[in-house]
Symmetry: C2
């Protein structure tokens, strides 16, 4: 890992709201790379926060978002998608003019839409989605290297000041990420395919397996269904916020499954082989794209 040479930190005080896997990893990465003078961890459970501080991930703890935000230059909201808007509002209410709020939510359309007024306010919100994580939860699974080599999608609105977009970009780059920029709607259409659809498919597959066959699973089944172990509450909120794009992606998958099914029923081996060859080619193309380095 490259630790930057001792220059002045990127930001003075960063408050991270929701110090679980993502928030905890961000705190750890910022501290390890000396990109911040202090990290305030914000959460609802004081005991969990104390443990997070014990573990060395954060410097200070706070249960009230607006109290922490008042002292922070930047607030990063890492709570579940259905709590992000409220947490951003609470932070914005107390921050100094010029301050920045960003998030790590898996959906962007609803969140950035509801917070559109903060694109141009004295306090700016810039949506972000670091494409990193796992089915695990809690700061115990946090890692300072979680973001390295991964892609972070920034979703500013057309009216968002470019200096705050750049500041957000530098923040995520400072923990090792490559960044790209999409509209919130483009983000949601893409993530429906790359993340939300795989979750639905993995969940269906995991639940379809008759219990008596569990002992006959191998790594193939386990890898294909890994993400199904993710938090149901969190994923229910993601599916709700991105329902239209998820339904479109589900239809595309169902169509593809239907082609495979029809070829099997017809005993049409050339077609079946062609479908599987296309899938193999498509899958192998992923290993050539950026995020694979951290895969």
């Amino acid at each position: 890992m490259t630790v930057l040479s001792p220059v002045s930190p990127l930001e003075d005080i960063i408050a991270i709201v929701g110090v679980g896997l993502i928030g905890g990893s961000l705190a750890a990465a910022l501290k390890q790379r000396k990109q911040v003078r202090a990290v305030i961890g914000v959460g609802r459970n004081r005991q969990r926060l104390e443990a997070t501080k014990e573990a060395g991930l954060i410097d200070e703890i706070e249960v009230d978002v607006s109290v922490a935000a008042k002292r922070a230059n930047v607030v990063v909201v890492c709570t579940p998608v259905d709590r992000i808007v409220a947490d951003v509002r609470a932070a914005a209410s107390s921050m100094q003019p010029g301050a920045l709020i960003t998030d790590a939510g898996s959906t962007k359309g609803v969140i950035c839409g509801e917070l559109a007024d903060l694109a141009t306010g004295p306090v700016t919100f810039v949506g972000a989605h670091p494409l990193a994580g796992s089915e695990k939860q809690g700061f115990e699974s946090a890692s300072a290297t979680l973001f390295e080599g991964r892609v972070c999608v920034l979703t500013p609105l057309p009216q968002t000041p470019v200096n705050q977009v750049e500041r957000t970009r530098r923040l995520w780059q400072a923990v090792g990420m490559q960044t790209c920029q999409l509209s919130p709607e483009e983000h949601d259409a893409a993530l429906a395919y790359t993340s939300h659809l795989p979750h639905a498919v993995a969940a269906a597959l995991a639940a379809a397996l008759p219990e008596e066959y569990r002992r006959l699973t191998s790594t193939g089944f386990r890898h294909t269904t890994r993400v199904a172990a993710g938090d149901p509450e969190l994923w229910t909120a993601i599916f709700r916020q991105n329902s239209q794009s998820v339904l479109a992606a589900l239809d595309a998958l169902t169509h593809r499954l239907g082609l495979i099914r029809a070829a099997i029923i017809a005993g049409d081996e050339p077609s079946l082989k062609k479908l599987l060859q296309q899938a193999k080619t498509d899958r192998m193309a992923l290993d050539a794209s950026p995020a694979s380095s951290a895969d």
Copy 2:
């Protein structure tokens, strides 16, 4: 890894037909654990066989199955499922009475049905399926530890002599596997869910992804689709040989996906959350079952 103490080897000469990922790993494991005096590698491509011998995986090479089988006490056929019957026949034609043939095919109904006469012949065939492997191919990916802690399904017929079943069991146990016994039909019904369905789903998902979204995939998408990189020819043959069970499993998956889809359309969050919770519980139960130790 536990290397057994220097006792006499389990078998004198074993011929392995098809020295790719599975055959190569079996050869490596048998030799490393000193369970055989010599391994003859059998294949159609002499140059590849020479390279396999160079790599130290096999002791001798042979392009003619029956020539190799004539000298072997045991033949293990590790070729694609649509070539196993012919390779077993070629081996059986030249082996001594009392000799054993087993295989590593991913389907068992068609193979064991067509070879039923060899359940009671002077040379015995006992079907087997070691639940280990990956989407990779070729002896270059072989590993002496591939089978450790994994399950091998044995599929003898009712009339198969028990001593030959036990001999087959000892062979696969000797490379670190746990064994269980099912009828060929039970095996195919189970593997349709645990292995063949995940492949169909991963292939559909990989092919459904629009190319422009590739850079926005993370480990979730990559894990869920990993097996789609498997050999299309091999998988076409598997789907053909197990078409009825695969179609039944596809229907079960489609039903589950339909439940998730309906809950999203209806905005029925309690139902959606319940479906995802069930999937999470089912997925996590896998980590408690035997094969997980090697996962």
